[in-house]
């Protein structure tokens, strides 16, 4: 950052000094120009309390452009070793004003693409998006309490950038694809799906014919009961408990989910309602 706002090559000056030479400039020559921000990109997962990981970097695309500097040793194919800290690089943004530097840094964070390890890029983006930081109320104790607020700020900024026609920039911050936990997908084909698309005409034998194929696609859960399909099942003279049991047999490794709606007819309240729903499902 010092090099960015002074224009001096400090490493070169250090080598000069080590070689017994004087500095090539005096204090009077030093003029500070503009603002610079540095974000340290570490192979740490902000969603897991900044847990570092030893992992292969499968993609490393650095941001470029005016006022952007990246000091790094990383490349695609590099494995983050467990022996030292998890620093992957220093991303520095320099601009005439503080606000421009922040904006430039956020653009650069959005362009950084790292696949393999989770990185701190998204955390930095979130912090830079907070109102407190924009209003210069920053402090060095930005911690756990601020994280959710920071995340919000990041989200707002991402949305703003999408609206500005730069969709996808922020998503690149989430380049930690390989270590990000998978979303929990629940399949509702047999309930809401067939209610909405096939008017609830799917019978238990049809569901059983498809069940193992649905389970092979590895959803986290399959919904087997919904208010509408429950009514349809009973109206068709089928036993909903038996349907659940048979689906359980066909899909032994997938969680099964039910959804129930509390009835809104007058006179039914609280625990009475669930007992009514459960009673509806009880075997005769």
């Amino acid at each position: 950052m010092t090099e960015m706002i002074t224009g001096f090559d400090l490493v070169a000056e250090q080598i000069r000094v080590a070689a017994g030479l004087p500095l090539s400039f005096t204090q009077a020559d030093v003029r500070l120009e503009g603002h610079a921000i540095e974000c340290r990109i570490n192979a740490e997962d902000p969603d897991r309390n900044f847990l570092p990981r030893r992992v292969l970097i499968s993609r490393w695309d650095e941001p470029t452009g005016e006022g952007i500097r990246v000091d790094t040793h990383c490349y695609a194919g590099y494995t983050v070793p467990p022996y030292y800290d998890s620093l992957l690089g220093k991303l520095i943004a320099h601009a005439a004003t503080r606000e421009q530097a922040v904006e430039r840094m956020r653009r650069a964070l959005g362009e950084l693409r790292v696949e393999g390890p989770a990185t701190t890029a998204i955390f930095h983006d979130a912090v830079l998006g907070t109102r407190r930081l924009r209003e210069r109320q920053r402090h060095d104790a930005l911690g756990r309490r601020d994280l959710s607020a920071a995340a919000q700020g990041g989200l707002e900024s991402r949305q703003g950038r999408r609206q500005a026609g730069r969709e996808g920039c922020a998503s690149c911050c989430r380049g930690e694809a390989m270590s990000q936990p998978e979303l929990r997908y629940t399949d509702v084909s047999l309930t809401d799906g067939q209610s909405a698309r096939w008017a609830g005409a799917m019978t238990t034998p049809m569901m059983l014919a498809a069940a193992s194929r649905l389970a092979a696609a590895r959803p986290a859960a399959i919904e087997v009961v919904s208010p509408a399909t429950l009514r349809q099942c009973v109206a068709r003279g089928e036993n909903p408990w038996q349907r659940i049991e048979l689906l359980r047999e066909r899909c032994p490794d997938v969680a099964l989910r039910a959804s129930i709606a509390l009835l809104t007819e007058h006179g039914r309240r609280g625990a009475d309602v669930i007992s009514t729903e459960v009673a509806t499902l009880l075997p005769a």
Binding site: I244, I260, L262, L282
Partner: protein, 212 residues
């Protein structure tokens, strides 16, 4: 008791009126049955983010293990999602948030992608012939889009193949029973129809109710 014994392990409790007074006991009852209670938070555009956040917090206090934002009418927009999800996250902290979207306005798949970008823990999806329209987004399309956008964990070819197989089987069921095809002009449905028609010609399969 009976739910758990028969293999159901989680239950979504939906109260369209959002009366916490009667939802709370139901959530507790579900818990006592050994089920994971997922409390539904019905979305209505007229309700502010703050109001929905307060309702979500009440659901969490009532004992829900997860909160599910449900947009049954398909009225959620990307812009609204961008403010609402962070508000819910701020109110719920680490509690998982699930999303149940519908596709009446065709925005469902896009909203699902946005939700992943913003941060969501669970999504309701369906296989292609039973997805979109008044239903939820399609799993296969969503996973492929997420892969193209480098969002979320990468999905393997084997899994996409398994999803394709499930799509095909359901499309066959649709064709066999005269149910609505996957989507107008959908390749899955068309392909299945063609293969079914060929099969039907070869075996002079009677009673086939092919549509289109």
């Amino acid at each position: 008791m009976n739910w758990r014994k028969r293999g159901v392990s989680e239950v979504v409790v939906i109260d369209p009126l959002m009366a916490i007074g009667r939802l709370g006991p139901v959530v507790k009852a579900a818990k006592s049955l050994g089920l994971t209670p997922i409390a539904a938070l019905p979305f209505a555009p007229a309700h502010s983010d703050d109001a929905l956040q307060a309702q979500a917090e009440a659901l969490a206090e009532a004992g829900a293990a997860r909160v599910m934002l449900r947009d049954e009418a398909g009225l959620l927009s990307p812009d609204r999602l961008a403010t609402l999800l962070p508000a819910l996250r701020a109110g719920l902290g680490a509690m998982p948030i699930d999303l149940h979207l519908r596709c009446q306005t065709a925005l469902g798949p896009m909203l699902a992608l946005d939700a992943v970008r913003i941060g969501i823990d669970g999504l309701d999806t369906a296989f292609a012939p039973l997805a979109n329209g008044a239903s939820v987004p399609a799993l296969g399309t969503l996973l492929k889009s997420l892969r193209m956008l480098a969002l979320n964990a990468p999905v393997s070819e084997q899994r996409l193949h398994a999803i394709g197989e499930a799509d095909r089987l359901l499309a066959e069921i649709a064709d066999r029973h005269g149910f609505a095809p996957a989507a107008p002009g959908s390749s899955i449905s068309r392909r299945t129809r063609i293969s079914c028609q060929e099969k039907s010609r070869q075996s002079s399969c009677k009673g086939s109710t092919l549509s289109g």
